[in-house]
Every structure is written in structure tokens, then in C-alpha cells.
């Protein structure tokens, strides 16, 4: 079984059927061949023996009557494959000039001369033959009946080739049957695989269709109930996150507005109170971002619906992103005229998160570049830090990854990059981290180009 492992289940079934069919048909063909051959040879032997005795009888009677040996031989009615030789007084007589005494093996002659009727199968020229020798003491002669078996041989050859062709074509037939059968057997598996892929791709409402096949029904039933449980759980988690976030919004609104009031009167506050207000303000800002990110992630988990409005120019979007987050728009360069069809707000948040990340962990944002690559558009976010070690480049896109590694400073939410990944994936794109030529990290967002 190990030998066939690399061929896959379908390949193995096909191969198995092919080989199995060949073995069965091969055995059948060989048995048929040998049985048929033995039977035919026996038939021939019997007929040669009969002919030999009857010819011997005729020759004996005629010789007793005093006829000449050669004349007797000429009078015998023989077919083309047969010949009769007579050995008498050290002299050979043949019914046919083509059949020489040399066709009779010396061993046979010895046995017959010793008074024993004998029989031998031999090859005359290229043709197999049978020779039967009988000693007739009453006329002191030995009679040899010779029969060429060319016709038997060609029959056997034909039978052999027919059986061989049958056995070999059975391999093909076996493969075809195997293929059909494996398709039928594997079809439910394909269906399960397709459904599982669709479910993991986010189509949580997909189920396997009911089946009447009792063996499959168990599988379909447990598969579907597994997905039901999964869906329930995902929905419950998403609802819980949404509920929690929602409940947090009201107190947060009061807090944000109240701090706003205090900030408006910041000048009237004593120095220590002012510091406290600034701290509350900063932490509240972080708390708010964290909540926004959480809500956004919870919504993505429940199936993100993008608000793709009219197409925007990459330059317009990214310039706004930079200026809204208080950064210099001179950092932006590249193919700024390329149109993007994206959820503006979410893509802005994703790029802002990457810029924040560059400022927080990467020694500052040094460039934001747009690359038009035909069927995809890339947004490159470069920083001046020490880069990200290769083993961390995937992990940093997980939730709270920065917090765990201790890399994060107090201002990060730990959700920023996870949110970037989720947003970009929802846009059917990809995001990854690479080295920036000349040092530092380069985060790359790649999204499919808008139809032009």
C-alpha cells in the first residue's frame, strides 16, 4: 500500500483495478490456453495412433499378399500432413519423397525394433510433428506414421494471441471501471471537501445536501451538525463581542464628552489636575481606538460587508489618510493616479494603522508609496526601524501579538495589524511584512486593481 501512496486514493483504486483485472484475466487466459492445447494435442495423438494402426493393418495385409512395399505406400490414401515410412531388412521406404527417414528419431527406432510400439513428438524442420512406430513381426517390418502438426501450431498461436490481447485489454477495462467506481465512491468526498472549503471561506450557511445512502447519511448528518455547532458558536461569539462593545459605547461617550469639557477649561486647572486630565485624555483616546478596533473585528468575524463607494484615486485617499492623522503628505509618492475601488473608511483605517505601527515600532514612517502593477495595486509603508525578524512576520498580524511579545509600547491596541489583515483580506488582497531596501521594515498591502 505504501508503494501506491503517492498516487492518491483515486489513482490507487484505478491502479488496483487495472492490476487486479490483469491478474484475473491473465490467469484465465493461461489456463484456457494450456487446457485447450492439451486437449487438442490429445485429439491429434489419438487420431495419429488410429491412423498408424489402420495403415499398419493395410500394409501388413498387402505385404502378406506379396505386394511391393513402395506400391503399397503409394496406394495409401494419405493427406498432405501425413506420411508413412516402412523399415524392412535394413531399408527405408517412404510414402513421400519429402519425408526422409531422418525424421524418425533414433531412440524411437531402437524401441520399435525391440518390439515395443512407441510414440514421439518432435520437430521436423521448423514444424512440430508426431511419429508413431509399430513393429509388425509377421512381415518383419516396422511402420512409422508421421504427422506434421503445422495446423495445430498455428491454431495454438492464434488462440494464444487472442487470449494475450484479451488479458492486456482487461488492464484498460479494469482502469476504466476503477476510474468510474472511484468517481462514484469519491464524489461524496469531493462534495464534502468543497462544502468544507466554502464554509472555511466564510459561507457559514452552506450545508451538505441530504442523502438516502445509509452509509453516507451518518457522515452527512454529523458533518452538518458540526457546522451548525460551529456557526452557532461563531455567531454567539460575534454577538457577545458586539453586545459588549455596544454596552461600552454609552459610558465611553460620556467620558469622551466630559473630558472634552475639562479640556476646554484646561487653562483654568491647576498644574497637577491638568496633567491628570491630559493622562485621562490620552488613555481615553487609546481606549476608544481599542473599542473601535474590537467592534470592527467582531463585525469582520460575523462577515464583513464592505462599503465600496465610487472609485477613488489612490493619491486622494492616501493624501487624506496622511493629513487626517496629522502626517506630512510629502511622504506620499508613486502611481497616485491609479483608481481604487475600496471601502474608503476601512482602507484608511488599515493604512493609518500601518503608519501608526511604523511610528510606534519602526522608528517612524519614512515613505508611503503606491505601485501600479497592472492587475494589482500595492501600497508600501516603509519605516526607519530595525525591521521585523523573519520568524515574527506572520505572527505580528495576530490579535494582541505586539502586547504578548512586549514589543508594544503603551499606545498600541494590539489589534491594529490584525485589523489591517482582516480589512485587506475582505478586499480580496494580501498584506505582508518584508525588508525595506536600505534597512527598516516594509509593510505591503496588495489589492486587486479596480476595473478600468
Amino acid at each position: 500500500v505504501k508503494l501506491f501512496q503517492p498516487y492518491g486514493l483515486r489513482g490507487r483504486v484505478v491502479l488496483g483495478f487495472g492490476i487486479g483485472m490483469m491478474a484475473v484475466c491473465g490467469a484465465f487466459a493461461l489456463t484456457t490456453y494450456f487446457l485447450a492445447r492439451d486437449y487438442m494435442v490429445q485429439q491429434r495423438e489419438r487420431s495419429v495412433l488410429r491412423a498408424a494402426f489402420s495403415d499398419a493393418g493395410v500394409i501388413r495385409d498387402r505385404m502378406r499378399a506379396g505386394a511391393d512395399v513402395q506400391t503399397i505406400l503409394h496406394e495409401l490414401e494419405l493427406d498432405t500432413a501425413s506420411a508413412v515410412l516402412v523399415y524392412r531388412d535394413g531399408q527405408w521406404h517412404s510414402s513421400s519423397p519429402d519425408t526422409r527417414p531422418s525424421v524418425v528419431p533414433a531412440r524411437l527406432v531402437r524401441e520399435v525394433e525391440a518390439g515395443q510400439p512407441a510414440f514421439v513428438r518432435d520437430v521436423v524442420g521448423a514444424t512440430p510433428s508426431m511419429v508413431v512406430g509399430i513393429r509388425v513381426p509377421s512381415v518383419s517390418a516396422s511402420i512409422y506414421e508421421v504427422r506434421l502438426l503445422a495446423e495445430l501450431n498455428s491454431t495454438l498461436r492464434l488462440l494464444g494471441s487472442v487470449l494475450a490481447i484479451g488479458a492486456f485489454s482487461s488492464v484498460g477495462l479494469g482502469a476504466v471501471i476503477g476510474m468510474r467506481l472511484s468517481r462514484t465512491v469519491l464524489q461524496p468526498l469531493d462534495q464534502i471537501a468543497g462544502t468544507a472549503a466554502a464554509i472555511s471561506g466564510g459561507e457559514l450557511s452552506r450545508r451538505l445536501p441530504d442523502t438516502r445512502d445509509p452509509e453516507l447519511a451518518t457522515l452527512v448528518g454529523s458533518f452538518n451538525s458540526m457546522v451548525d455547532a460551529l456557526q452557532l458558536r461563531i455567531e454567539r461569539d460575534a454577538r457577545f463581542a458586539a453586545d459588549v462593545s455596544h454596552e461600552l459605547r454609552s459610558p465611553l461617550t460620556t467620558l469622551v464628552a466630559s473630558v472634552g469639557l475639562l479640556k476646554a477649561r484646561r487653562d483654568q486647572l491647576p498644574d497637577r489636575s491638568r496633567q491628570a486630565v491630559d493622562l485621562i485624555d490620552a488613555e481615553l483616546g487609546r481606549f476608544r481606538r481599542l473599542l473601535d478596533d474590537l467592534i470592527e473585528l467582531a463585525r469582520s468575524d460575523a462577515g464583513l460587508i464592505l462599503e465600496k463607494g465610487s472609485p477613488v484615486l489612490a493619491g486622494d485617499l492616501l493624501r487624506s489618510t496622511l493629513s487626517m492623522s496629522g502626517r506630512a503628505t510629502t511622504l506620499l509618492s508613486g502611481d497616485l493616479e491609479v483608481p481604487l475601488r475600496v471601502d474608503k473608511v476601512r482602507m484608511d483605517r488599515a493604512v493609518t494603522n500601518l503608519c501608526d505601527n511604523a511610528d510606534r515600532h519602526g522608528g517612524g514612517l519614512v515613505a508611503l508609496t503606491v505601485e501600479d502593477r497592472g492587475d494589482e495595486v500595492r501600497i508600501l509603508v516603509d519605516d526607519a526601524g530595525g525591521g521585523v525578524p523573519p520568524q515574527d512576520r506572520e505572527r505580528i498580524f495576530e490579535r494582541f501579538a505586539t502586547g504578548r511579545s512586549g514589543r508594544g509600547s503603551s499606545s498600541g491596541t494590539g489589534l491594529g495589524l490584525a485589523l489591517v489583515a482582516q480589512t485587506v483580506t475582505a478586499h480580496e488582497g494580501a498584506v505582508w511584512c518584508a525588508d525595506r531596501p536600505g534597512g527598516g521594515a516594509r509593510f505591503v498591502i496588495s489589492i486587486p486593481a479596480a476595473a478600468r
Binding site: H246, R249, S250, P251, L252, T253, T254, L255, V256, A257, S258, G260, L261, A264, R288, L291, I295, I305, E307, G309, S310, P311, V312, D316, L317, S320, M324, K344, V345, D348
Partner: protein, 233 residues
């Protein structure tokens, strides 16, 4: 004279801090804890603007807005704890002019209110003050930018302030496509990341008031992938 602003919000703490902050901004703020009391208050005292929370007690924010819209064109900003597409669009469909999601900063809500208070669009330099939008009916539909009214014959067509500004912007550049982005900027003073659905919902409402057949608009037409255009007869 300061603007009278009615805050309809059932969360006491949010309502209080909104009052404090908006009073700082110079508004004359009155409070209502339910939709019912808000409607009562509006009958007894004149109100210039409203902030309405969508999640209220017995009567929800959507119903409250629809009730108000039956007899008033005042600017309404919806406050929602849910940023769900469905809620926001429903609030706008009910008649709100703009929305903001919790948690918000006071300066965000005052910016929205300021934008809504601007009475009319800047008239285009050479634009006539009276524009005939439709001649197909028995009586013409005339937009008077200076008078701030839209008339069908002698009858005034009731438009909210936002709807009026929207149609004025389109009429001022009649025959030209205005993108959603431009309209968001000019009518709502939203920046680049404004919600284009604001424009779409308001255009839809505007059409029900001006188009002879809103399902096949002739006056305000959609230019696919670009924006909207007002066509003069």
C-alpha cells in the same frame, strides 16, 4: 439670537454632558428623555435643531423623526450606538439630515451642526435666482435660490434645509455631473471619508418630492460610477 437645540436621549449622563458641552458652544439646549416628551416640547416651544438618539424607550428614534418631519423641516442629527448600515440608512430614510456614531467627540457633533445651519448654498456667480426645473406638468416647478423655496405653480414644495441645499448645488451646475464626494463636501461639509450613502438617501427623498415619476427620474439623474446631474428642461 442663539439656536434652540433639542437633545432627545434617554441616557441621563450622555444627555447631561451633551447639554453642558453644547451650551459651551453657544446653543440654547433643552432636553427630552423620550420621543413622546420631545414631540410635546416641540409643540410648546420653537426648536431650531434636534439631536436624536435612535434607541429610545417606547417610541423609537425613527418614529420620532418621522413624526417631526410631518410638520417641520428643521435639521436633525441622529446619534446611534450602532454603526450598522441598516440603522443608519433607516434613520436617514426617516428624515434625518446627518448621523454620528457613539462614541463621538463634542467637536465632531458641533461641526455637523454648524454645517447644517448654513442656510443655503453659495449661489453660483452667474446663476439666475429663479430656475425652472420642470415644465412637463400643468404648472412649472420653480426653484428660487434667493427666496429659499421650491414652488410647483403657487404651491410650496416642502424641502428640508439639507434637501434644499442639495438641489441648489445641483441646479447651480445644471447639466454637469457632481460627484458624491463633491456633494458631501458642499452640502454636509464632510471630509474625504464622509459616507456616500448620505447623498444617495437624500437624493432618493428629493426625487419623491420633485420627480413626476421617482422610479424613472428625469430631473435629477444618476450618472453611473460618477455621481448625479440635474437636467433642465
Amino acid at each position: 439670537m442663539s439656536m434652540r437645540l433639542l437633545v432627545v436621549e434617554d441616557d441621563d449622563r450622555i444627555r447631561t454632558v451633551l447639554r453642558l458641552a453644547l451650551e459651551d458652544e453657544g446653543y440654547d439646549v433643552s432636553e427630552a428623555t423620550s420621543a413622546e416628551s420631545a414631540l410635546d416640547q416641540m409643540q410648546s416651544e420653537p426648536t431650531d435643531m434636534m439631536i436624536v438618539d435612535l434607541m429610545l424607550g417606547e417610541m423609537d428614534g425613527f418614529t420620532c423623526i418621522r413624526e417631526v418631519r410631518r410638520h417641520s423641516d428643521l435639521p436633525i442629527v441622529v446619534v446611534s450606538a450602532r454603526a450598522d448600515t441598516h440603522d443608519i440608512v433607516a434613520g436617514l430614510e426617516a428624515g434625518a439630515d446627518d448621523y454620528i456614531t457613539k462614541p463621538f467627540e463634542i467637536k465632531e457633533i458641533t461641526a455637523r451642526l454648524r454645517a447644517l445651519r448654513r442656510r443655503a448654498a453659495r449661489p453660483a456667480p452667474a446663476a439666475p435666482s429663479e430656475i425652472v426645473l420642470d415644465r412637463s406638468g400643468d404648472v412649472p416647478l420653480v426653484l428660487s435660490t434667493e427666496g429659499g423655496v421650491l414652488r410647483r405653480g403657487e404651491d410650496v414644495v416642502h424641502l428640508t434645509l439639507t434637501e434644499f441645499r442639495l438641489i441648489s448645488e445641483l441646479a447651480a451646475e445644471a447639466g454637469h455631473v457632481l460627484t458624491r464626494q463633491v456633494l458631501l463636501d458642499r452640502v454636509w461639509a464632510h471630509g474625504f471619508f464622509g459616507d456616500e450613502r448620505l447623498v444617495d438617501v437624500h437624493i432618493r427623498r428629493l426625487r419623491t418630492k420633485v420627480e413626476p415619476d421617482p422610479s424613472t427620474p428625469r430631473i435629477i439623474v444618476t450618472v453611473r460610477g460618477l455621481g448625479y446631474r440635474l437636467d433642465l428642461p
